[in-house]
């Protein structure tokens, strides 16, 4: 039976190849056939979860809560010393320099990444901006979020920090970061579906071995784990779930 490795829309397009390389390694680790699928939006990925078509996934914190609590997924590993952060940006030509300059109703461009949206909404709370004050436009990727801000199609953009860092200097010059998160404890997790629970130890052994292999350094960086992987316990995962629950504005 072929298992499924779901490549989340969180993954930078230029790193897709690294995930296919990891897929090959996972097949060697487990002795099972894995098929890697690239998802370009979260609606499709969530459908794959519902259809049991994602046995292995590198999930963001919001999806980790969904998968572990509602679908019985099990934690394997997380990247060492890497946290998920986000920035709220405005047009550099505009009048907004700080949160205090924002109007009481905002148009916002964001991708459909649920963790980034949740973090950025929280960043706007000190300016008295709640869920009802934001009109969200979902864009397919962070570059289009940046363009929507630069073209004044929206007043602010929500960007994952790594995606903002990857923007060209020319694009960054046209944006202004008005607030950014420094949360440190939100991160992506490598999760296994209950169907492959028996392979978790083999996968962890493979990931641990990669972490200590100097030749794997470039691959690890591409996978978003430049410092290697660390074992993720169910307790750590429950903490992440509680944290994401606490950050929801419901």
């Amino acid at each position: 039976m072929t298992r499924q490795l779901a490549i989340s829309p969180d993954v930078n397009v230029r790193n897709i190849t690294d995930w296919f390389i990891l897929n090959t390694k996972v097949q060697r680790m487990t002795g099972e056939a894995f098929h890697a699928t690239v998802y370009t939006d979260f609606a499709d990925l969530h459908q794959a979860y519902a259809n049991h078509q994602a046995d292995l996934v590198f999930a963001n914190a919001a999806d980790t809560a969904l998968l572990v609590r509602d679908h019985g997924y099990l934690p394997i590993a997380a990247p060492s010393g890497v946290s998920k952060e986000a920035s709220v940006v405005v047009s550099a030509d505009g009048p907004v320099h700080t949160l205090a300059d924002l109007p009481s109703h905002l148009t916002v461009a964001s991708t459909d990444a649920p963790d980034v949206e949740r973090i950025c909404r929280i960043l706007l709370e000190p300016a008295n901006l709640g869920p009802a004050d934001l009109e969200l436009q979902v864009k397919p990727n962070p570059v289009l979020v940046a363009k929507a801000v630069m073209r004044d199609e929206v007043q602010v953009g929500f960007l994952p920090q790594d995606a903002y860092d990857d923007l060209s200097a020319m694009v960054k010059q046209q944006l202004r970061v008005i607030t950014a998160s420094r949360i440190y404890v939100v991160r992506n997790s490598f999760l296994a579906s209950p169907a492959i629970a028996g392979s978790i130890e083999a996968i962890w052994a493979g990931l641990e071995s990669m972490s200590s292999d100097p030749e794997a350094a470039e691959l690890l960086a591409g996978l978003g784990a430049p410092n290697g992987w660390e074992r993720l316990s169910m307790d750590d995962t429950r903490f992440m779930i509680d944290l994401m629950d606490a950050l929801s504005q419901g």
């Binding site: 960043l123 300016a127 420094r182 903490f239 509680d242 944290l243 629950d245 606490a246």
Partner: protein, 163 residues
């Protein structure tokens, strides 16, 4: 809990002899020095079922003024500021014991007698259907809300006979 000591306090202080819900007492030395919540950060902690701190992040250590070793194993009420009405904490407790999340604005007491405002969310930590503790996440509060609540809490405290 150990009494606060003048040598640990920064600025002019007022003295309170505080009685906690469990009957224990503590000498509090309170100043008017505010530490503003660091923008973009979160204070995160976990407690066990008895309300003792089992985990805290660096932002918590920084904002509370306590060392990590002082925090771990201490009751969360070590942060309780006398300007906070009892009714607010009663509401918090009554909500979380029912397994529900609680959110609200809280003025916390620092080790040095100063204070910091937070918007806190407390959720029960449930394992195998049992509440084994709580996770508390504090974020930067709206200043407008804080200004509004200073008077509201003062009135509530006066009604409770705390001031």
């Amino acid at each position: 809990m150990r009494d606060m000591r003048p040598e640990d306090v920064r600025g002019e202080w007022r003295e309170y002899h505080w009685t906690y819900f469990d009957g224990t007492t503590r000498r509090l030395l309170v100043t008017d020095v505010e530490t503003r919540f660091p923008t973009g950060e979160l204070i995160v902690s976990q407690t066990d079922a008895a309300g003792l701190i089992t985990m805290c992040n660096e932002a918590f250590v920084h904002m509370s003024g306590f060392s990590r070793s002082e925090m771990l194993g201490a009751p969360h009420s070590i942060l309780r500021h006398p300007d906070m009405p009892k009714a607010a904490f009663a509401d918090l407790w009554n909500t979380v014991v029912m397994g529900r999340r609680w959110s609200g604005y809280v003025k916390n007491l620092r080790r040095d007698g100063g204070y910091y405002w937070v918007y806190a969310t407390v959720i029960p930590k449930i394992v195998d259907g049992l509440v084994v503790g709580h996770t508390s996440v504090r974020r930067e509060p709206s200043r407008d809300k804080v200004e509004e609540l200073i008077d509201v809490y003062a009135t509530m405290c006066a009604e409770e006979g705390l001031t």
